[in-house]
């Protein structure tokens, strides 16, 4: 078992005919992920890397190849349109890797998501992986192994850090979700925590957050009230100065809200074990979860 992606996942790649998209999609396929189609408007009827049929529209990929999941590598000016197309085509789960989508475009996407049954992961995210079964996006496969810890994080390399720490200590992961560093995204920490809480294959949860917004506090409140599984967390940005955007568009402390201190306090109040440094994320969990 796992969340969102697994054995039944049939992936259509939007914008995977580009250089980065090709590289990562080939890696995903080599991992064993079931890609069934590519979509690049204007290239319909041709073949991608001698492996997949290319369609002009996502609707065609759904109709002809039964695609139910989409991964998006479309450049930022066109990425929101790509997401809207996938929603319109009835794709169940969209993973948008693209970094740099205007916030205004994402507010429209967010509205369309509310009116649909589609779930969006990202944008500006490393993707999602159910180790041993399915890897969609840009996460390196070798850092993971199948197991029982669910990992959710805004940051790519910090997710890798946590996954790798678990793996080298002999603990695998159920599913790892990179929700992305943008202020408007499809899936929140809270959404991911709910999925992990309901997933019988997930026994423990690692939540990695960062300064800005209040998503971590919302997840903490839910965990306090509903989650019996052990949860460990790390919050990046204790030393970040207020008012400066730390790389991720979402990582900014404005006024007194969104600071690392308030987030850590909320997490601790919810009974979550908070790692004092990024080197101790796995160890912090393994102190309260023996596997």
């Amino acid at each position: 078992m796992s969340v969102l992606v697994g054995k039944d996942t049939r992936v259509v790649g939007q914008g995977i005919t580009g250089k980065a998209g090709t590289l990562h999609a080939l890696n995903n396929i080599a991992y064993g992920t079931n890609y069934v189609a590519a979509v690049t408007p204007g290239k319909g009827g041709t073949t991608w890397e001698d492996k997949l049929p290319i369609f002009n529209t996502v609707h065609d990929a759904v109709e002809k190849e039964g695609a139910n999941t989409s991964v998006i590598f479309v450049p930022p000016p066109f990425a929101a349109d790509g997401i809207l197309e996938a929603i319109d085509a009835g794709i169940e789960t969209i993973i948008c890797i693209t970094e740099g989508i205007p916030v205004r475009d994402m507010t429209i996407v967010k509205d369309a998501l509310k009116k649909s049954k589609t779930r969006l992961i990202g944008p500006n995210c490393p993707g999602i992986m159910t180790p041993g079964i399915c890897n969609i996006g840009i996460m390196p496969g070798y850092i993971a192994q199948p197991g029982k810890v669910g990992v959710v994080s805004r940051s790519g390399t910090l997710t890798y850090e946590a996954m790798y720490q678990l793996t080298v200590r002999g603990h695998g992961q159920s599913t790892c979700i990179g929700i992305g560093g943008d202020p408007v995204n499809g899936t929140s920490h809270l959404d991911a925590v709910k999925l992990f809480n309901d997933d019988p294959a997930t026994e423990a949860i690692i939540l990695i957050g960062e300064i800005g917004g209040s998503a971590e506090e919302e997840a903490a409140a839910f965990i306090k009230a509903n989650v019996k599984k052990p949860v460990a967390a790390f919050i990046a940005g204790t030393t970040a100065p207020p008012g400066r955007r730390m790389g991720h568009a979402g990582a900014i402390v404005s006024g007194s809200s969104g600071s690392a201190e308030t987030k850590i306090a909320a997490l601790k109040d919810a009974g979550i074990a908070v790692a004092p440094t990024p080197s101790e994320i796995a160890d912090t969990l393994l102190e309260i979860y023996k596997g």
Binding site: P102, P140, T157, E161, A236, T238, G255
Partner: protein
């Protein structure tokens, strides 16, 4: 990206938001002509820098006040002269302050009452939200903390757009209820929403918004921030960018595709990924050090980028040591090691360097570093790396 008040007011005017008439100039030669365009008894002189608290700020030569309301043309001329080319320090500029390169002369409005009005993106529900308050001219975060009942929030569904009821809600919350005021505020709010939406703003703030003794509504100040992801479709906004207001190292970094923010510590960091870069700063602090910067080299980490990153962090005179922390995901640690070796040869490395590599082909990468003859310390974990660089600096 930020712009100056006078530029924001030009945009306000384009969108039908009333502002006091004025003119911004960059040299003393232009002062008289600018002052002559301003009518009324009094005249306002405003230093143009990208920071708040100008009125209460002090110039580095001791001259007080970056915004002044003066009784005569002559006094305005002299005040402008004192401000132009001078460096203004406010609670937002840091101790170094900012050089005033533009002075803005405007009409002095006859204020009856001050209000606060802003529009920004509410992250919690991904919608634009108006923030309005009867407590104008104050620090809005203080108002929110002390008297939250005096703040009204009105969300607008971006797909549905702005409707009259949104505007009425704001008007009644501010107590602007005469027919003429409702009409003026309706027009102003429409302009404000369209400006925010069409120009991809992340914030438009009017503090204060005023009613004049004649009953008119005006934006006395203007602050605007733009979504940098959307600048590609707004060349007219990019043209307003004032690079002089930004840290030169940050400007260079953005040209090289690096995300860099200068801080006041002495341990430089070079990291891939924004979250890991923040976490690296945190762990340096955790072990008693002080980070000199935030630097995300992105997913790449090729020799050219790493060289440029080294050059930028070494141009900071405070830097006494460097911590490189790379998690090689898809990319091999060998490639990254070669990048570091090449870069270290291109720049003069005269401070201790600690390198922590992890991930794909890490053994091969470390071997390359060990055999390079470079003076560097390699570390096994992030904690190990942070401890080592802090120790090396204390020596």
């Amino acid at each position: 990206m930020n712009i100056h008040e006078y530029q924001a007011k030009e945009l306000f005017t384009q969108y039908g938001i009333p502002v006091p008439a004025g003119k911004a100039v960059q040299s003393v030669d232009e002062f008289q002509a600018a002052i002559d365009t301003v009518t009324g008894e009094k005249i306002v002189v405003k230093s143009q820098i990208h920071a708040g608290g100008r009125g209460k700020g002090t110039f580095t030569d001791g001259y007080k006040g970056g915004v002044k309301v003066l009784d005569s043309r002559e006094a305005a001329f002299e005040a402008g002269k004192a401000m132009l080319g001078n460096t203004l320090v406010t609670h937002q500029t840091g101790p170094k302050g900012r050089e005033v390169k533009t002075v803005y002369f405007t009409e002095a409005s006859k204020i009856a009452k001050e209000y606060y009005l802003a529009i920004l993106l509410d992250r919690e529900n991904s919608q634009p939200v108006f923030i309005a308050s009867t407590e104008g001219g104050m620090d809005i975060e203080k108002v929110a903390a002390e008297t939250p009942e005096k703040i009204t929030r009105v969300h607008v569904d971006p797909a549905g757009g702005l409707h009259s009821f949104h505007k009425r809600k704001i008007a009644f919350a501010l107590g602007l209820t005469t027919k003429e005021q409702l009409k003026q505020l309706d027009k102003l709010l429409t302009g404000l929403y369209n400006l925010f939406w069409e120009k991809d703003c992340s914030l438009v703030e009017i503090n204060p918004l005023i009613t004049t003794v004649d009953g008119d509504i005006e934006a006395l100040d203007a602050k605007m921030n733009f979504d940098s992801n959307a600048l590609y479709r707004h060349p007219e906004i990019v043209a307003m960018r004032d690079l002089g207001e930004e840290d030169p190292k940050e400007v260079e970094a953005s040209k090289a595709g690096l995300s860099y923010i200068a801080l006041d510590g002495n341990i430089a960091c070079l990291v891939n990924g924004a979250g890991l870069a923040m976490a690296t700063m945190d762990i340096i602090k955790h072990f008693g050090g002080n980070p000199a910067n935030f630097l995300d080299v992105g997913g790449g980490g090729n020799e050219q980028q790493v060289t440029e990153a080294f050059r930028i962090i070494l141009s900071d005179a405070n830097v006494e040591g460097i911590l490189v922390n790379i998690f090689g995901g898809i990319m091999s640690c060998k490639t990254i090691a070669l990048g570091i070796i090449g870069a270290a040869k291109n720049v003069e490395l005269n401070v201790p360097l600690v390198v922590r590599l992890e991930g794909n082909e890490v053994k091969e990468g470390k071997k390359l570093l060990d055999e390079s003859g470079l003076k560097l310390t390699s570390a096994d974990s992030l904690a190990d790396a942070a401890k080592k660089i802090v120790e090396l600096i204390q020596k």
